[in-house]
């Protein structure tokens, strides 16, 4: 190889990748019926929001109702993550390969269970649950909970499997029983990533709760849908504003907590 051929080959690979990407993009856009010009109309969305979404005096009268639903959304989002978190942690401790799980099949089963739960779209959960649990908050809670259970179990499994088991062995060598060693040796070590995953889940749940609410007719998502479809845009705008406030406050809170933990 000479410098000339080296750079020529590198450029060829780069060019080929770029062309392949561009061609796939164009093909996918045509198949989808997407017109590139729409990208230049991004500002219309913002303008439209500025014109229609500004809350008016009449819409502000709805504020107590909106705030109540926002509160419920927050509670459900947090509770789903909290309840799923406890169970996931237990499943992860049982299923982790490095904590002395001798039956490979149990490990495999927990992993597969988590993967299926996590990968079934949350709207599928919401639609299926709607039949048996009807139109209420419980349906939304369960949809979030099932998805969280899958997501957190997998996240915790990976966290635990990164853990250096030498520290556990050191405790067990002193005559500590395995469950106690896990409580005292493992949990303090993985506390920070576990909290980070839970915070991420709660933030994500608030966004997903809006979506689930749209489909199941509950909570803040339902309110937005109701106002939006009845062309009461100022009220829908009010819902968006309070949602933004909630999501950004949660983001700030979680940054603060993460900073205190390191």
């Amino acid at each position: 190889m000479t410098p000339v051929t080296f750079f020529r080959r590198k450029q060829q690979v780069m060019l080929f990748t770029l062309i392949a990407l561009l061609v796939s993009y164009v093909v996918a856009s045509i198949a989808l019926g997407f017109q590139q010009g729409a990208l230049l109309q991004v500002q219309t969305g913002f303008l439209w929001m500025a014109q229609n979404f500004l809350p008016t005096a009449t819409s502000l009268k709805l504020l107590p109702a909106v705030l109540f639903q926002l509160w419920r959304t927050f509670i459900i989002a947090t509770a789903a993550a909290g309840v799923a978190g406890v169970i996931s942690l237990l499943l992860a401790v049982i299923g982790a390969k490095n904590l002395g799980q001798r039956h490979v099949s149990i490990s495999f089963f927990i992993r597969g269970f988590a993967s299926v739960l996590r990968n079934i779209p949350i709207i599928a959960w919401a639609l299926i649950l709607l039949f048996s649990f009807k139109q209420n908050e419980l349906t939304g809670f369960l949809a979030l909970w099932l998805m969280n259970l899958g997501f957190l179990t997998r996240a915790f499994l990976e966290t635990i499997e990164d853990f250096d088991t030498g520290k556990l062995e050191a405790l067990i060598a002193t005559g500590t029983s395995r469950p106690v060693a896990i409580m005292q040796g493992l949990l303090p070590e993985i506390a920070t990533p576990v909290v980070e995953w839970l915070l991420y889940m709660i933030e994500n749940n608030v966004r997903d709760a809006t979506l689930v609410g749209l489909l199941t007719g509950t909570g803040i998502g339902f309110l937005f849908d109701l106002y939006f479809k009845s062309i009461n845009y100022p009220a829908a705008g009010l819902v968006v504003v309070v949602l933004i406030v909630l999501v950004i406050s949660l983001e700030l809170l979680s940054t603060h907590i993460q900073r205190s933990l390191t």
Partner: protein, 243 residues
């Protein structure tokens, strides 16, 4: 010739980290800067190419005071000054050849630099430097696979690619094993002699400084406490420098 006069630099008003430092370094010589850690060695070196702005004094490279230059003029003047670092600062994902060629990016137009468009002469020069450093077998190897000593030689080749008048070396051998360290210092000695470069090296090993340097400057608490030849440096003075 590098002439530094009355250079001062403070971090906080009552904690000067350089105070009234003057020195002269000739082409074809190695100047070693020694002193305990925190004495201001790194600060001094970074002042020499104005990566750090000083408060007072002059830094003259061949009659041009670097401190008086505009931002654009300074960027141009820095092409004459090569720099090598303790932790090499190479782009690990790229090959040795590409890292060496980075040395001539400063002399290129923005567009040519962005596209990594190097001329045939530049590629030849880079390959020549790579073989001069004994790295011919590794020209197309990504730098992450190299040892510390090899990385430092890539760093030197990159600096030479600039065709510098002066080479600034910030603790170049602090992370190396003794054998690689000797190899790197031998290369610096050869460069000073053969290419007539001004070489300024920060070192924390006094024995290496006395072995290789023509001229030693010692700093302590931001002040110059010794300036002379290795022969003039005696044990009592070393004791005083590190006190």
């Amino acid at each position: 010739m590098l002439t530094v006069t009355a250079l001062s630099k403070r971090y906080t008003p009552d904690k000067p980290s350089l105070q009234d430092v003057s020195l002269v370094a000739d082409a074809g010589t190695i100047t070693a800067v020694i002193g305990p850690s925190g004495a201001g060695k790194t600060t001094l070196l970074r002042s020499l190419n104005q990566l750090l702005k000083d408060d007072e004094g002059t830094v003259q490279l061949d009659d041009v005071d670097l401190r008086q230059l505009s931002k654009r003029e300074l960027q141009k003047a820095r092409r004459d000054i090569g720099m090598i670092f303790q932790n090499y600062n190479l782009i690990d994902a790229l090959t040795v050849l590409e890292n060496v060629l980075h040395g001539c990016l400063g002399a290129k137009s923005t567009i040519a630099g962005m596209l990594a468009h190097y001329t045939a002469e530049e590629k030849q020069a880079a390959m020549a430097l790579i073989s001069e450093m004994g790295l011919s077998d590794f020209a197309y190897t990504a730098c992450k696979h190299l040892s510390g000593g090899q990385k430092q030689r890539v760093g030197i080749a990159r600096a030479l690619m600039q065709h510098p008048k002066m080479l600034l070396c910030d603790e170049p051998i602090a992370s190396l094993d003794p054998k690689s360290a000797k190899l790197v210092m031998d290369i610096l000695r050869r460069l000073a002699d053969e290419k007539d470069l001004i070489v300024v090296v920060n070192l924390h090993q006094v024995d290496i400084a006395t072995d290789y340097a023509d001229h030693i400057v010692a700093l302590n608490h931001g002040r110059k406490v010794f300036d002379g030849t290795p022969a003039e440096l005696n044990d009592a003075q070393i004791q005083a420098i590190y006190a």
